[in-house]
Symmetry: C2
Subunit: 428 residues, 2 copies
């Protein structure tokens, strides 16, 4: 049986999962591909480090160029992460005739387009399923199975850490800071949680998903992001009473005029929304196509074996193309250049929670300000607090973000208003 | 730009959705494929019939061989349904060098294997995404993206009609017969509902899904099926009180000894189960892989445009293979021949609802019979009825079906038992 030689950069969480799957399911994979997938070399930073998978030490090298420049290696799997030095490594590998599989979301979000172009020019494969939502096959679905659709919207829970924190806060009534500390202790959040809790990780993934969905490169720097640090236990409780769950949502729309919009933000989702019941570290992505309607993909968004599953799926697809002499079969699909709608133009419903004096006419005075800024109100719930204050929760009709922010700026300075505690988007 | 000629058999619900998508999204599809997909001929039964889509009458023929035998046509889309005469049509088309796309679940479940073999022998493509779960890309996911996994279980809600009926029964507390009549009036159920409500449609789809999942042909005749006619409003209400939803489930397992099991049956699903919140006509399929863990795919399981989306996705995949000279890139993946475990060997938890005299020792006498048949009890709830009877609901631990049925046979003949109303599987 024909052998296809694979080189791997990185033997961390994803790398060791990938190697383990290739070892344990070797026979089935060979049967399915019609060729044997052989790992020839693995570049690591530290040769002495203990690994989660048993690997012949002779395969390891601490010189990445021994992998990148090996002429026998037909597929290079980049499982290191980060832009530098991976970008240069992959360009060099493509130019020397290799097919690429990567799970590097930051690299793909920041400079995926020129790597895909280079691969297409060289008629080589470039697969990236592992870069978004772990083992969930969302990228292949959009590039292939759903390719008959014009996709109008993509919306997902794509960061497991924040979903775990919000789920725990929801189930336990806990606040953000102690839940984050607990998640860090349990290994669900990193020591520096910035990339997850402030929405950067989700923004990388959304840039990739929306580029694929709308056939136009979305620059991750242009994706506004808001994290979950400001979400309070009280917001989650109030949302529950109103019939909503709070989730960190990555969402992007393509409008009939051809423009795009993309944004990462916490949102109130109605309990019946398909994403509302996605809990713990699970991820899910909802795609809205003009023909297929809503389809949702759900699964583990991270981890050694789930992400390894995506990487091995890509290796198999690439190996099948090699066997069929068809590498480069599907190239970059960003053939359009759509304008990105500025964030101020975004419309949505909003939830606002504030404290104000519990006196006649206070509600009316606040409502008047909303009216001045063209924000109309769908519902309001007032609840007396101990003392002379009340908590007032508003849900608006669809409004522009800058109108809402203008109104809240005035409202927060009304003498009767002690504090605007929070405003959060509401999805329908 | 290169043109790829397509021939279509059938211009019904799926055919007209397919043609509409090809028309409306023509430009995007050409850009994505690098070739123009041109419908050259469509065979229909009745040339005079009004169609849901505007088609040049010159494309229509009532002679299928004008399509099958046209040497310019590179891809044949079979959207007729049923085994005969489609089986012969497709064999003839393959032998004359055509690639095949089909949405025919009955044909694929009954004789998919020899068609796939014929296509492989001819190095032609054979795609069947539209045959299961409408627009949900579950077949491509199992053949490609998840191909690094050994799949241990596949479980789904794959029949929209029964899911619609059960959802309505759940929401309205209604019984089966009036809900079916309503579904027929609304067009969600056929005049002869047998194929849907007795589980045959789901069994076809499960035969296809499990063959793909376990790499071994599953004969649909060997898939035991139980429909939903016997589900009563009271069962649904009791299940709700216990924390369950009742759904028609198609499920198949591959055991560590290599044997398979497949079955269509109504089941109690815990409210937290990912399939429990799949409502109305929606379908969902859960796949359990050794690497990826649980992944779920959700969407519209039927309809003109959703199923058309799957067919067009297959046409695009095939066209890309034609452009790359790589038809036959992925052949039949049923390279094993696994034994099928007989249904009596199946183990599961069971729900039993019966009426009995509300007297001392009745509960104990029934419990003793379970014990005699090696069925152990997880929970029991007794509720007094008007008169001198009680309703008793049992949930068993995992037991073999023939043990349970043996026990119920004895229990139903106990003098104190007036009627065993129902027994239903319970999933965990």
């Amino acid at each position: 049986m024909r052998q296809i030689k694979i080189g791997i950069l990185g033997l961390g969480v994803v790398g060791s999962g990938t190697v383990r799957i290739l070892q344990e399911n070797a026979e089935a994979i060979s049967r399915r591909v019609g060729a044997e997938l052989v790992v020839k070399k693995i570049a690591v930073r530290n040769l002495a480090k203990d690994r989660d998978v048993a690997v012949d030490p002779a395969l390891l090298t601490d010189n990445p160029f021994e992998v990148i420049d090996d002429p026998e290696i037909e597929i290079l799997a980049e499982l290191v992460g980060g832009v530098d030095p991976c970008h240069g490594f992959l360009l060099r590998a493509i130019q020397s005739g290799k097919n690429i599989v990567t799970a590097n979301k930051e690299l793909m979000a920041k400079s995926g387009h020129d790597l895909l172009d280079a691969a297409q020019l060289a008629q080589k494969d470039f697969f990236l399923e592992g870069s978004v939502a772990g083992g969930i096959p969302i990228i292949a679905a959009m590039k292939e199975s759903l390719a008959g659709n014009n996709i109008k919207e993509v919306m997902g829970i794509v960061n497991g850490t924040t979903n775990y924190i919000l789920t725990r806060m929801t189930e336990e009534g806990a606040d953000f800071a102690p839940t984050l500390a607990d998640a860090q202790r349990l290994g669900y959040a990193e020591a520096d949680p910035t990339s997850d809790v402030d929405g950067h990780d989700a923004a990388y993934k959304l840039a990739i998903l929306s580029s694929l969905a709308f056939n136009s490169t979305v620059n991750e720097e242009k994706v506004p992001r808001q994290g979950i640090r400001h979400i309070q236990a009280r917001d989650i409780a109030v949302a529950r009473d109103l019939g909503y769950k709070i989730k960190l949502i990555a969402s992007a729309q393509c409008h009939p005029d051809g423009s795009m919009q993309a944004r990462v933000h916490p949102a109130l989702l109605p309990n019946k929304h398909p994403l509302a019941s996605v809990n713990d570290v699970f991820n899910a992505v909802l795609v809205r196509g003009d023909a297929v309607g809503d389809v949702m993909f759900y699964g583990r968004g991270a981890g050694s074996l789930p992400t390894g599953s995506a990487v091995v799926g890509d290796l198999i697809a690439c190996a099948r193309n090699i066997v069929s002499n068809a590498t480069g079969r599907v190239g970059c699909t960003c053939y359009l250049s759509r304008p990105m709608l500025p964030s101020e133009q975004a419309q949505s419903k909003f939830y606002v929670r504030l404290h104000a004096l519990d006196k006649p006419k206070v509600l009316a005075s606040i409502a008047n300000v909303y009216g001045d800024f063209d924000v109309s109100i769908e519902s309001v719930v007032q609840r007396a607090l101990p003392g002379d204050e009340a908590e007032i929760v508003w849900v608006t009709h669809k409004s522009r973000e800058h109108h809402l922010l203008g109104a809240l700026d005035v409202i927060s300075r009304l003498p009767a208003v002690s504090k605007v505690h929070n405003w959060i988007r509401v999805e329908e």
